[in-house]
Amino acid sequence: MNEAFSLLLSGDPETWAIVGRSLRFSFFSTILSLAPGLALGAWLARRDDRGRRFVAAIVGALTAMPTVVIGLFVYGFLSRSGPLGFFGLLYTPAAVVVGQILLALPIVASLVWSGLSRIDPRFHETVKTLGASGLARLGATAREGAPVLAGAVVAAFGRVTGEVGVAMMLGGNIRFTTRTMTTAIALDASKGEFDRAVSLGIALLVIALLVNFGVHALRPRNDR
């Protein structure tokens, strides 16, 4: 355990490079999932009809989908014989980010949908009666839903940072290129190198705690 802490505290370059890479992948996949996730969530919240309920059920199922299944699905597309194989993305950072976008997107969409659906109906009547333009209405909605949106971002970031299936299947756990905290932990533990595994586990735990603190801090308050 002491060795694990000293790997982190001494600034071991490879350990910190893995942490940095994981955070980088998570950052890009979360950011890139925002626009489609927001649009999908807002679309679902606009009305309640049979088609939207069907899509909502799929989005809900995807939020709980095991990461290896998503990894396997994307692998089928990106592998050399797959329909997108000609891009040569498999086992590159881009492949990991693509897979993680698919993990983050349903989380963002689902939280945005649920947040926007909970906005007080008086809000819509108020902005309408005050004659707000489309842009002003969008701004007011973004302001009203800001805590929900921030919570969605944090939750999506947490999901992709802690996942192992996509990073392993699409990144291949290649040293200095696609190795992330979770894939490195799996590898080091299997090799019996517990110190590095535990040090990365501690880093992951701290990040998970920070993410959860973030979710709680940004959770919409019920005191309006």
Partner: protein, 225 residues
């Protein structure tokens, strides 16, 4: 001020249920409201007062009949959207400061920054809220929130005020202030329709009283001046 029926309701049938089944919340064969009228809508809870106000503002669509504003269908009338404002019984304040809320009401006027600030300050002062601009919406009492919402409504420059129990959450002092401001609006020719249980407020400035029961008009005094 004219007395032409710029609001005209014919064979109105409205229900909060989406379908055509169920008891209508409002059923009015014919009603005309003239410009500059000061109307008190009275009646027990559930009699259709709120529904009528929202319909007059074009916020909801009836399942049958028509509501015309100066000959145009109310819910798609741009002039009505520009000239009227509806105030909830329990007003909704947007997340932000009091100034943001009142300023949001001026948005449709396309004012410059200085003019906008001036309008916010004047609207707040009229409702006894000078110095409240930087307060957050959550930090207000029910009565203060109601006055902020009225200040926001007045800041729009609307001359058709559709107000649902505007003194419901107000203490006596605030209620008197609101009544005074509404009196001033009436004097400058605004058309005001108020749903209220407060007979003092209704009698104080209304020149027409319409009593609703179970979604129908059971009494209409007509214009009394």
């Amino acid at each position: 001020m004219t007395d032409s029926p710029f609001f005209e309701i014919r064979d109105l049938d409205f229900s909060w249920d989406a379908g055509r089944e169920g008891r209508p919340a409002l059923s009015i064969a014919s009603l005309a409201l003239g410009e500059g009228q000061r109307v008190a809508l009275v009646g027990p809870n559930g009699s259709g007062k709120t529904s009528l106000l929202k319909l007059l503002n074009g916020l909801t669509v009836p399942r049958g009949g028509s509501i015309l504003f100066e000959g145009e269908t109310a819910w798609s009338s741009a002039p009505l959207r520009k000239r009227s404002v509806y105030l909830h019984q329990h007003p909704f304040l947007l997340a932000g400061t009091v100034s943001y809320n009142v300023g949001f009401g001026c948005g449709r006027l396309g004012l410059g920054r200085a003019e906008r600030e001036d309008r916010i300050t004047r609207s707040l002062a009229r409702l006894g809220l000078a110095g409240f601009g930087r307060r957050r919406h959550r930090a207000l009492s029910g009565g203060e929130a109601q006055r902020v919402a009225l200040a926001r409504a007045l800041a729009t420059g609307a001359d058709i005020l559709l107000l649902d129990e505007p003194t419901a959450s107000a203490d006596r002092e605030s209620a008197a202030l609101i009544a005074r401001v509404l009196g001033e609006e009436a004097e400058r020719g605004a058309t005001i329709v108020i749903a209220t249980h407060e007979t003092a407020l209704a009698g104080g400035f209304a020149n027409r009283t319409i009593r609703l029961e179970a979604g129908t008009i059971v009494e209409d005094t007509g214009t009394t001046e």
